[in-house]
Amino acid sequence: MARYVSFRDFDWGLLIFVLMICGLGVMEIHSATMHTKFAGSHIRQIYWIAGGVGAMFVISAVNYQALLDRVHWFYIAAVASLVAVLIFGQRYLGAKRWIKMPGGNHFQPSEWVKLILILAMAKYFADLRHRELSWPDFMKAGAIVVIPMLLVLKQPDLGTALTYVPIAVMGVFLGGMQWKQGMVVVLLAAVAVGAVFFTPRVHVLKSYQKQRLTSFVDPENDPQGSGYQVEQSKIAVGSGGLWGGKGSQTHGAFLPVPQTDFIFAAFAEEHGFVGALGVLLLYFVVLMRLTQNAQTAPDRAGAFVVMGVVAVLSFHILVNVGMVVGFMPVTGIPLPLMSYGGSSVLFMFLALGMVMNVRMRRFVN
């Protein structure tokens, strides 16, 4: 009854939109780094994208159900690698996030843990088969995500740890979360945030993290720190106007890291509201296309996999663009597909590869 899995069923339309976003990213990286010591980054970004596309094809060829059957092993490996980072990791700028690989490369496990969490959530909820989520199931689902999250927080890498949250949220939401459970989560989150900020004894956040968050609330208080960065970002975006400008914020080095975290600000400065809105539209099309793939998925697990990717991607866009326009604090979360960086590009394409994987098997069964 199964028919051949074919690349004819590959979502070529989705890939074209994704590559358009990547192309705009490469263009902006080139422009933003032109006269800096990062000049040439756009070429390396193209290599990463090419590598990412290759990895996407490879992973889409492996049946995702085979991956799901082994997900508990992946999960154990993921947790082990995070523990390894805490023990053997390279300390850089006060945080242990990388493991040095023999080739001189640095490997950041917290990125691919995201992929495994998406798979683990999918597997967990696919096996439940209830319409409504019971309290123990709810707690277990939470625990699956919270364990790696705590390990990443310990590095400390608040930004990446937060990106695990939407995976869990999307999982329980689609898995049949009840209203009461939703209320409890919101309440707990509020208490946790309150405790972190208003109880002086609890040092969950590092002082720089706390400062980033407080300077978000009161940017005037911290003109040189992250408040300054947000202010510069807002000036960059605002001075772009409707049609874009010459980009003095970006090229005058006022905008911090214009090729990574603040690439959207650089783009918005040079291409104005029209250009920035165009990029948002591209992302929106990609996300809608993804949810459509979830609807046509052959089974529950496939839908969960695709929606996990949707959750992570939306969260990244929300936090990054929100930061650039001054709605969100500085967290160091890159804009997927546009920001310069190998790990981020590879993660996105591997995630898309899993989506393709699900889509290619929609007529199977």
Partner: protein
């Protein structure tokens, strides 16, 4: 497998889509608010947003002599710099800038390119010490060229005409090669660092830490506010062990000649004077030197950049006989050796001549030293053998670095059987030992090595490390100096070294080799030498090495017992050691005279003469002449030279 599963709730999937739409609407609103509703405000904010970082250059520390008199100072000058944090196209402006500053436009572009990898807020230094008309050009083009600015820099003022140039060294902009070396890793392009001499050795002490002011400037480059300022930390001043008075005497002695003179306190190792000729004027390239000028200096066959006191490796000639005498005495051979000199002798089937062709007749150790009889030392060398000679020479520091606190000291060569096999894969020939006996052959030493060895003998075996900076005068934690005060004790027979130094004190007497250098009333013990310009390599290249003029050597100290000064002279092409001895005695006499006249000093503080001129230090030449004027030099005191006058060598600083 999961075929019969309930599908994921369609309602919830649709709800997720609406949530995403809501997120995007919020973000789009954020963009709309900034880029459309408030775009005017942010556009003007971007225009106002020009923070300019201007460095405040820290002056380098002064260099003083042992009595606190200034040798090297700074004077204020203007430098032109290019600010890159404006959004101007620097390459397009390069032509106008180059024209106004009298630079080559391509050179300007090259500099801009070199700095592309540096942070934007770091300005590019275009030209140091600009002239008044260049300053006027910058002032009158503030609007057209807002990126061009000036800064007050402190330029190094060195004594003129190459006075003490090798010891002091000079500064220069840190090169890309240097930046790749670990000891320069903390510096950034554009930094001025010591390139040679004391300036390099003690760079971390002398170099200050630049400050910076962050100023808000408008789009026309005018400052509209100050955000903050970090003050520059000036470099620490450095007190040398050199005595300017003695340095002057040594410079004058060697003026017009080639070679080196070093003077040291044999008790402590403090270098009192160090001269090398020919010399160069470090003021010519205090910041940047043109390629032509530099090539000329590097390719000059006389090697003016070489500090011959520590970098010339030459045969010591007869001065080596002091070391031979010590070795011979310690081995119990020299004190009983009697030789009949007939103007030469045969060893291993070859005739070796004595410099006195008619012969010295009967010779014992004492006469052999003050008459410098070659045959005596040939015989002694044959009896000792190369390894026993090498043992004492090596113990006395020959063929090794002395550890002096100056960069790029060379090792020299003290041959031995082992050395020959290691370097030439050949056995040592006994015949080679004979030439080594009179300081020829493969022996190659530096003047400072020879001086240190003889100083150790004069001190009864106490060997010091020569140094130009007293570690106790040095601020802590900048440069590792602990080895400079270490002394070594070489066990010498007291009868031996006293006998040898007594014999050395007759060298300047009528019966010695340098009676013409005698100074009445000063007890000088020394040894002359004249050496062929040899090394094994040159000897191979020049078949008849006799054609090359010989080098004159002299190493001497005073007084004979417990000396307080030792001088070593290398007079290249000086033919005979007695000429070198005369140069040495000039320095020794200056020292003794100064001690006797103390506390009067040769160089006095500035004195107002009433005719608008000021008497200052002794190291200046008359503007039209090029001969160094020792003693005193008077300069006019118009305002523009005030800075110069304050930094003139020889003046005691006001504080």
């Amino acid at each position: 497998m999961f075929g019969r599963d309930e599908k994921v709730s369609e309602i919830r999937l649709t709800a997720a889509q609406y949530i995403i739409l809501a997120i995007f609407l919020v973000l789009a609103y954020g963009l709309w608010r900034l880029q459309v509703m408030q775009s005017g405000y942010y556009a003007s904010a971007a225009e106002k947003n020009r923070i300019r970082n201007v460095p405040i250059l820290a002056p380098r520390g002064k260099i003083l002599d042992r009595e606190g008199r200034i040798i090297v100072d700074n004077y204020p000058s203007f430098s032109a710099l290019l600010l890159r944090d404006s959004s101007r196209d620097l390459n397009a402006d390069a032509d106008l800038i180059a024209q106004g500053l009298h630079l080559d436009a391509n050179e300007v572009r090259t500099r801009i390119r070199h700095f592309t990898s540096m942070p934007q807020y770091q300005p590019i230094f275009l030209k140091e010490d600009i002239t008044p008309d260049e300053l006027a050009f910058i002032d009158s083009h503030r609007n057209e060229l807002p990126e061009l600015d000036t800064i007050t820099a402190h330029r190094r003022l060195y004594p003129r005409n190459g006075f003490m140039a090798h010891l002091i060294g000079y500064v220069g902009e840190v090169t890309e090669d240097m930046l790749n070396q670990p000891q320069f890793e903390l510096y950034s392009p554009g930094d001025v660092v010591g390139v040679s001499g004391v300036e390099r050795q003690y760079n971390t002490t002398l170099m200050g830490q630049n400050g910076a002011r962050r100023a808000v400037v408008n789009s026309h480059g005018r400052e509209v506010g100050l955000l903050g300022e970090t003050e520059a930390v000036p470099g620490k001043q450095l007190k040398l062990t050199v005595d300017i008075d003695l340095q002057i005497a040594a410079e004058e002695a060697l003026e017009g000649k080639n070679g080196a003179i070093v003077a040291m306190d044999p008790r402590t190792g403090e270098i009192l004077a160090m001269v090398s000729r020919p010399t160069f004027d470090p003021n010519d390239f205090a910041v940047r030197v043109s390629r032509d000028e530099w090539n000329k200096l590097v390719n000059d066959p006389d090697k003016p950049l070489l500090n011959k006191a520590i970098q010339a490796q030459l045969a010591p000639g007869s001065t080596f006989k002091i070391i031979m005498s010590v070795a011979g005495w310690q081995e119990g051979i020299a004190q009983t050796l009697h030789v009949n000199c007939t103007g030469g002798a045969e060893f291993y089937g070859r005739r070796f001549g004595c410099w006195v062709k008619t012969g010295h007749g009967g010779v014992t150790l004492e006469k052999a030293i003050y008459q410098s009889c070659d045959v005596f030392f040939y015989t002694l060398a044959e009896k000792l053998g190369i390894d026993r000679i090498a043992k004492y020479a090596t113990a006395l520091g020959l063929g090794q670095k002395t550890g002096i606190d100056l960069p790029n000291e060379v090792t020299g060569v003290m041959p031995s059987e082992e050395w020959k096999i290691k370097n030439f894969k050949q056995k040592w020939f006994a015949g080679e030992t004979i030439s080594v006996g009179i300081g020829q052959g493969a022996v190659a030493i530096t003047p400072v090595q020879l001086m240190r060895a003889v100083a150790a003998i004069s001190m009864g075996g106490k060997m010091v490390v020569p140094h130009v900076v007293d570690p106790q005068e040095l601020p802590n934690g900048y440069v590792e100096t602990s080895h400079l005060t270490e002394t070594k004790n070489i066990p010498l027979d007291p009868n031996g070294w006293t006998f040898i130094t007594d014999a050395m004190s007759r060298v300047l007497l009528p019966e010695g080799t340098a009676p013409s250098a005698h100074v009445p009333g000063i007890d000088i013990a020394g040894k002359t030498g004249s050496a062929q310009i040899v090394s094994l390599a040159t000897r191979a290249r020049f078949k008849n090495a006799e054609d090359l003029a010989q080098n004159g050597w002299f190493v001497g100290f005073t007084p004979r017992r417990n000396p307080d000064i030792i001088v070593c002279v290398l007079f290249e092409g000086g033919e005979h050691g007695r000429l070198a001895a005369r140069l040495a005695t000039q320095v020794l006499k200056a020292y003794v005279d100064k001690q006797r006249r103390s506390p009067n000093k040769m160089v006095e503080q500035e004195k107002q003469r009433g005719d608008g001129k000021v008497d200052i230090g002794a190291l200046w030449t008359a503007p039209e002449g090029d001969k160094l004027e020792g003693g005193r030099f008077s300069i006019e005191l118009p305002k523009k030279h005030l800075a110069l006058a304050a930094g003139a060598p020889g003046i005691v600083p006001a504080n």
